[in-house]
Symmetry: C2
Subunit: 155 residues, 2 copies
C-alpha cells in the first residue's frame, strides 16, 4: 500500500491530547477516529453511531457524543451548525480551511476553498483586538438551473 495512513498520526495527536489533559486512552475513543476516517465526509452524531454499530463496533450514543466533543476540543474535528437540526462534524485535516455553500433549493452542501478569507479574517481580528482561531463561512445560494436541483419545488 502507498496511501499515507494518515489516521495513525491523528490517533497519535489524539493520544497526546488525552495524556496531556489526563483523559484515558480507551479503545472506543481510538475506534471513533478510524471510523471517521473511513467515512471521509460530513456526518452527524447519529450517522456515526449507526455506521459504527452497523459495522460491528459496539458503542453507545453517549460515548459518541463525548468523543466527538473531545475531538472537536483538540482540533481534530470541526463542528458545524448548518441550517437544520443536528450538528455536523468533519475531519479538520480533510480539506484545510474550507467553507461551505448551501443550496437553498435542495440543501446540497458544496465545499470550497477561498484563500482570501484568511486575510480578511485576520484583518477583522486585528481591527477588533482579537486573535483569530477559526472561522466558518456559509454561503446560501441557489443553482442557476433549478432543474438540476432534485428537491426543487415551485412554491
Amino acid at each position: 500500500m502507498s496511501l499515507p495512513t494518515d489516521n495513525e498520526s491523528l490517533k497519535q495527536q489524539f493520544a497526546d491530547f488525552l495524556k496531556r489533559k489526563k483523559y484515558r486512552g480507551t479503545q472506543e475513543r481510538f475506534n471513533v477516529i478510524d471510523r471517521i476516517a473511513e467515512l471521509d465526509r460530513h456526518f452527524n452524531a447519529d450517522e456515526l453511531y449507526l455506521y459504527m454499530n452497523g459495522r460491528g463496533d459496539r458503542i453507545s450514543r453517549a460515548t459518541i457524543y463525548s468523543t466527538l466533543d473531545l475531538l472537536t476540543t483538540c482540533g481534530i474535528l470541526m463542528k458545524h451548525r448548518f441550517q437544520g437540526g443536528s450538528a455536523h462534524f468533519e475531519l479538520a485535516s480533510r480539506m484545510p480551511d474550507h467553507d461551505h455553500l448551501i443550496c437553498m433549493e435542495c440543501g446540497h452542501i458544496e465545499e470550497f476553498r477561498e484563500e482570501k478569507i484568511d486575510v480578511l479574517r485576520d484583518g477583522v481580528c486585528t481591527r477588533l483586538g482579537f486573535r483569530p482561531m477559526a472561522h466558518s463561512l456559509q454561503i446560501f445560494a441557489t443553482c442557476h438551473d433549478p432543474l438540476v436541483c432534485p428537491h426543487n419545488r415551485q412554491d
Copy 2:
C-alpha cells in the same frame, strides 16, 4: 419626537408580505415586530417569549416560533445558529450585511461589517455556478488580553 419610527415601515413590509402570501394580519404578529425593535439586539425565541409576557403581552411560544419563522422567510429577520443550543434572531435592517466574531473565552459576540466579503462571496458563487442569496461568517477568536474577558478560566 424625531426618531424615524422605522418599525412602522417594517410592519408595512410585513403586512404586504402577509397579504401577498394570504396569511392573516393578526395583532400578535405585529406586536412581535414592535417588541423586537424595542429589544434591538440578538435574541432567541424564549428570550422574546419571556420579554413579551413579562411586559404584559399574552403570547404563546407556538406563536412566537411561527411568527419568527414568517419574519425570517420574508427577510425582516436574520436567523443565526451560533455555537450553542438555540437559534438567534435579529432584525436584518439593524446592521445590514454584518457578520459575527465570537470570543472563545467568554462567548461574547462582536458584530462587524467587512464589505470585501460580498465580493468574495459573489466570486465563489460565480465559480461554482450558483446565485448568491445570503451568507453567514462567524470568526472564532480570543481577546488579546484575557483578563478583559469576564468568563475567562485558566483550565
